[in-house]
């Protein structure tokens, strides 16, 4: 057993360059549909709240992950304000090349929910961001019903 002849000349290394050209439609489902319709049409955030454990889901879900309670009829509007739960300043793009302008990305804990959004912070000096900073959503004028309808969050 074992390999007795090994490649030991770099010029003998060969490979095939392959690619996975796959595409998907990720359907939003009941919860996502409702949230993004509200964002697109009314610039509003909708969440679901579990009547048993009081966990408020944003992004919304139609089931509670703790209690397994059905949340299809437990919707509520929440503010489009929140606070920075954490933030980071991203310097490289997805190909590890330096970004022209570093981006400030935050996990924004939306008021009245146990969740929120991961998004950009705008109209702010990166040095002035801190955990706990109050921010609110800025929406695009032309919205399509997706997460990028939010342009960024800015300080209140």
């Amino acid at each position: 057993m074992g390999i007795t002849e090994k490649i030991n000349d770099l010029r003998d290394i060969k490979s095939w360059h392959g690619e996975m050209p796959v595409q998907y439609l990720y359907t939003y489902g009941i919860a996502g549909e409702k949230l993004f319709r509200a964002i697109k049409d009314e610039k509003k955030f909708l969440a679901t709240k579990c009547p048993d454990c009081n966990f408020v889901y944003l992004p919304p879900r139609i089931y509670c992950q703790e209690c397994f309670t059905n949340l299809e009829n437990s919707w509520r509007e929440v503010e489009n304000k929140g606070e920075v739960h954490s933030f980071t300043i991203v310097y490289l793009d997805i190909e590890n090349k330096p970004l022209d302008v570093p981006e400030v990305i935050a996990l924004i804990r939306i008021k009245g929910t146990n969740g929120g959004f991961i998004h950009k912070l705008g109209e702010i000096n990166p040095e002035k961001v801190n955990i706990g900073l109050e921010v609110k959503a800025v929406f695009k004028e032309k919205r399509e019903g997706n997460i990028l309808d939010i342009q960024y969050f800015k300080p209140v």
Binding site: I13, I118, K120, I131, I147
Partner: protein, 382 residues
């Protein structure tokens, strides 16, 4: 409870690239060694468990390509995702059924084959809420590190010291791809990736394959006089949503450790005298130590500075070099943590030998954007 043991293993040396072998040949090399070292023949093995993640191999249904290089053709092959520790746990569970006496477990990484690994990691994010931002996925570690420093009180310098310790430990480990003697300043001055995360805070990938032979209590001693017993195991998955999970603690690590301690009958984690844990990013080692109760909250950085986790400290951590020193081995990272534990528990760790190593813990995390991990506790035959 002594029901299943690891009775043999074989592995290739972690390398940054492996262009001279196909991934199947690399696994074959590890398998040959495992069979030779344990005296087991493929026909003796009743079940094979492999770990794979299709996007890491670049073949959907990758696990179709595992049997032949392991001697598993026309046998029962079971593939799981995540990591080698999960695979060992699956093998352990199969043996506990009483239906299997010898199980082979395999894990590997040929990450050098992936031309754009960031895309693979980015693709693991929620496609509706997170992927569209098209960010370098390590931003998630940047967010978590910032929150960790804020809520634990540990410092960037202490995180940098984890990198220094682990790369230094790797200098004594032939099974490592990134050993180095560096200073804290080298880490703090390395290029910013996603502030506060810098380039040197993040482990770099490596290739390797690892095969273990597991045996039931009934026959373990007939294969080796020194089986390494699986005393406890735990595995846990937290909220997949970044937006709603707890960012102040590695809850998956806390709960999987708790499950493992309970199974092992360990009342006080201080009984653990050797640990190989996830340090995919520098701060994760400190976060995992605290979450698993191996030290108190907020104390990990201070204890690190006092030498508590060094080779001659009270709890040697990542003597192998961890992911930072040995290389991030994707699904094989947990496997190589187990290799180090076995070498230590078997008193075969040479210049890395920890004197009183008798009860070891290995822990793994699936990496961003996941909140999943596993823990295994191993004990030598006395």
């Amino acid at each position: 409870m002594r029901k299943a043991a690891i009775v043999g293993m074989g592995y290739t040396v972690p390398q940054t690239i492996t262009p001279q072998l196909s991934y199947r040949e690399m696994i074959f090399e590890a398998a040959v060694k495992a069979y030779e070292n344990s005296g087991i023949h493929p026909k003796d093995v009743q079940s094979f468990i492999c770990v794979s993640e299709d996007f890491l191999e670049g073949v959907s249904i990758f696990d179709e390509y595992v049997p032949d290089q392991l001697g598993a053709n026309l046998k029962s092959v079971h593939t799981i995702s995540a990591d080698g520790i999960f695979a060992i746990i699956s093998g352990f569970l199969q043996i506990l059924t009483g239906k299997f006496d010898i199980v082979l477990v395999e894990a590997h990484s040929k990450a050098s084959n992936i031309l754009n690994p960031n895309e693979v990691i980015a693709f693991a994010q929620d496609p509706v809420y997170n992927q569209p931002l098209r960010l370098n996925p390590h931003y998630i570690a940047g967010l978590e590190m910032n929150r960790f420093l804020y809520s634990s009180g540990n410092t960037r310098e202490q995180c940098a010291k984890v990198v220094v310790k682990n790369k230094k430990n790797a200098l004594k480990n032939p099974l490592s791809a990134y050993p180095a003697k560096i200073e804290i300043e080298d880490v703090l001055n390395s290029a910013l990736l996603s502030d506060p995360l810098r380039k040197m805070d993040k482990s770099q990938h490596a290739d390797a394959a690892c095969v273990f032979i597991l045996a039931s209590e009934k026959i373990a001693k007939s294969i080796t006089p020194n089986p390494i017993w699986i005393k406890g195991a735990g595995w846990c998955s937290d909220d997949p949503s970044l937006e709603t999970r707890n960012w102040d603690e590695a809850v998956y690590a806390k709960l999987s450790a708790r499950q493992a301690y309970k199974m092992a009958g360990i009342q006080n984690p201080k009984q653990i005298n050797l640990a190989e844990i996830d340090d995919s990013y520098s701060y994760k080692e400190l976060q995992h130590l605290e979450s698993m109760g191996l030290c108190r909250k907020g104390e990990s950085g201070l204890l690190l500075e006092e030498g508590y986790f060094e080779h001659d400290g009270s709890l040697p951590v990542n003597i192998s070099g961890g992911n930072l020193g040995a290389g991030f081995l994707f699904e094989a990272s947990g496997a190589f943590k187990i290799v180090e534990l076995i070498l230590q528990l078997s008193k075969e760790a040479g210049c890395r030998q920890v004197k009183n190593a008798s009860l070891g813990l290995a822990q793994v995390w699936r990496g961003v954007p996941t909140a999943t991990g596993a823990v295994i506790i191993l004990e030598r035959e006395d």
